[in-house]
Amino acid sequence: MQAKSRAGLAPTASPGLVQRFLKRDSDRRLGALLAGLAAACATLLLLVLAFLLVESLPVLAHWRAFFSSEGWYPLENRFDLMPMLWASLAAATGALLLAAPLGLASAIFVVFYAPAPLARFYRLVLNLLAGIPSVVFGLWGLTVLVPLIARWQPPGASLLAAVLILALMILPTVAVTAIAALRAVPRAVLSGAVALGIGARGRILGVALPAARGGITGGFLLAAARALGETMAVLMVAGNVVQNPSGLFEPVRVLTANIALEMAYATGTHRSGLFASGLVLTLLVLLLAWLGTRVMRGHRHG
């Protein structure tokens, strides 16, 4: 989707330019080398997907069981994945709803508001937040956040706890990518707005954000994917009861937690059922990526 948004700037828009570049022998060799590396990389990553598919094959024959609403009791051959799918979606959506405005505000702060030393310091805070291991988030959630919620609405381990922890974890992704995108907005565009007497708010909301839209949306998608794929921290705070998410204070189990909780103890169809959890998650991200591409395309034409 990033690619679409920058179509107006990149060589794709001016094929002649690329052609002239590519005439040289050294460039042709470089192109071939890079294509080779990309192919190698693609092969490696394809292997990951193939692995996932092969391992989940044994239960895919009974794929209807995934939607059976019989519950998840793999040892009794009941493989209903839907509640966990909804839980994953609910947790990731909630987290993104919180992290998107906060992350954007963070990026705007760093790029437009903060004096240089403060901006540098705050960027370090964001980077550190990105680097705090999920185990530490989980520990903090389990020993501080969950008891806090439990005092208010037991059991405490809940969708809300998962949303809050996930929002914290993906906020740096939103902020860091948005900072990079906002920085890339050409100075000339912004100074044009200043010359027109537009205030900071108008400059940011009306000029900078739309210009950086591609990178920011890319960051949102990355963050959503990260939220869907996060495992350890959610496992520690979400309660992990397999049920449809019916309220913020209800415990839920997300797909990743399902894999991490049971994989070490699973054999046979139970094990393939867990890989199928991973596959469903991957399809979900595929859908997300595809939607993102569509949205960006719509923006470009609209």
């Binding site: 990033q2 700037l9 990149a10 060589p11 794709t12 828009a13 094929p15 330019l17 690329v18 040289r24 050294s26 460039d27 470089l30 192109g31 294509a35 590396l37 990309a38 190698a40 990389c41 990951v48 997907l49 692995f51 906060l102 505000a105 963070s106 705007i108 702060f109 370090l124 805070v125 980077n127 550190l128 937040l129 680097g131 291991p133 185990v135 530490v136 988030f137 906020l171 860091v176 890339a184 900071a200 591609g214 990178g215 990355l222 959503a224 994917a225 990260r226 869907l228 794929g229 495992t231 350890m232 990743t256 894999i259 991490a260 991973g278 991957t282 979900l284 991200v285 997300l288 993102g292």
Partner: protein, 280 residues
């Protein structure tokens, strides 16, 4: 008047959001620091763990963590940059590039534990690397590649076409333009990708339990198993009774380590890449 009010509200909202994020961050770090600081000492950093990690220190675990991270970055950064350049500069719309991008976006969402199981099946068993730093590092490389490539590519894509035209006008080859103009101009995005990658790799638990393993002595070779810091923290806090103090101290060390790596990565991309800009 209304314009001024909106302006002020917006500014306040931005500052409040930032204050909120910083406050929660400080809360978490203070919580970890308060519980871990009393255990932290020079000997904690320089000794081997004893009694399942409750006593002693984390020296071998620090060594393993840094080695795993080095392997992951040594593989992912050059490969990632190459693929990002290919995607951004050498593909045309509608060809392999779009498929590759979609593919990368999907892989960015595959949970890390699946990478762990893949790494175990492919690197450890199929390629015969066993439980080793190498298996762990390569698995992490696979895991951080998608995000790294996409972030770098976004940065390259955002470089205005006037830079390319300028390079062309100066008679540069495309390769030279990439090296001297485009990559330096995309340095902030490369730094962002690096930061996200380092953060994710250093903090990873699930993928490493199945690849680099659990052994807590100093690795003698890259084919030895070695426990990463995040695995150590998980084990101490969730599995070893009475390991909390050491877990929090280790978490403190891990956060400090990531801060250090971040500053280094930032400095490296700022200086090394921007030094190569040649004025048009």
């Amino acid at each position: 008047m209304g314009e001024k009010l909106a302006e002020r509200t917006f500014t306040t909202a931005v500052w409040l959001s930032v204050a909120l994020v910083a406050a929660v961050f400080l809360w978490i770090v203070a919580d970890v620091a308060l519980r871990g600081f009393s255990t932290l000492s020079w000997s904690f950093l320089s000794q081997a763990p004893g009694d399942a990690g409750r006593t002693g220190g984390i020296a071998p675990i620090l060594v393993s963590t840094l080695l795993i991270l080095s392997i992951a970055l040594a593989v992912a950064v050059p490969l990632g940059l190459a693929v990002a350049v290919w995607l951004s500069e050498f593909t045309r719309a509608g060809r392999g590039g779009d498929t590759m991008r979609l593919f990368l976006d999907v892989l960015a969402g595959v949970p890390s534990i699946v990478y762990g199981l893949f790494g175990n099946a492919f690197f450890s068993i199929y390629l015969g690397l066993g439980f080793s730093l190498l298996s762990g590092g390569l698995t992490l490389a696979c895991m951080i590649l998608p995000v790294f490539i996409r972030t770098c590519e976004a940065g390259l894509g955002a470089v205005g076409s006037e830079w390319r035209l300028g390079a062309l006008a100066a008679g540069m080859t495309h390769g030279a333009a990439v090296r001297h103009i485009l990559l330096p101009a995309a340095a902030p995005a490369v730094a962002a990708g690096l930061v996200l990658g380092i953060g994710r790799a250093t903090a990873e638990t699930a993928a490493l339990i199945f690849t680099s393993g659990y052994v807590d002595r100093i690795p003698g070779s890259l084919l030895d198993s070695g426990r990463a810091l995040a695995v150590h923290i998980y084990d101490l806090s969730m599995n070893v009774t009475g390991g909390d103090a050491a877990a929090y101290a280790s978490a403190l060390v891990l956060i400090a380590l990531i801060a250090l790596l971040n500053v280094l990565a930032q400095a490296l991309t700022d200086n090394w890449l921007s030094r190569r800009i040649t004025p048009l």
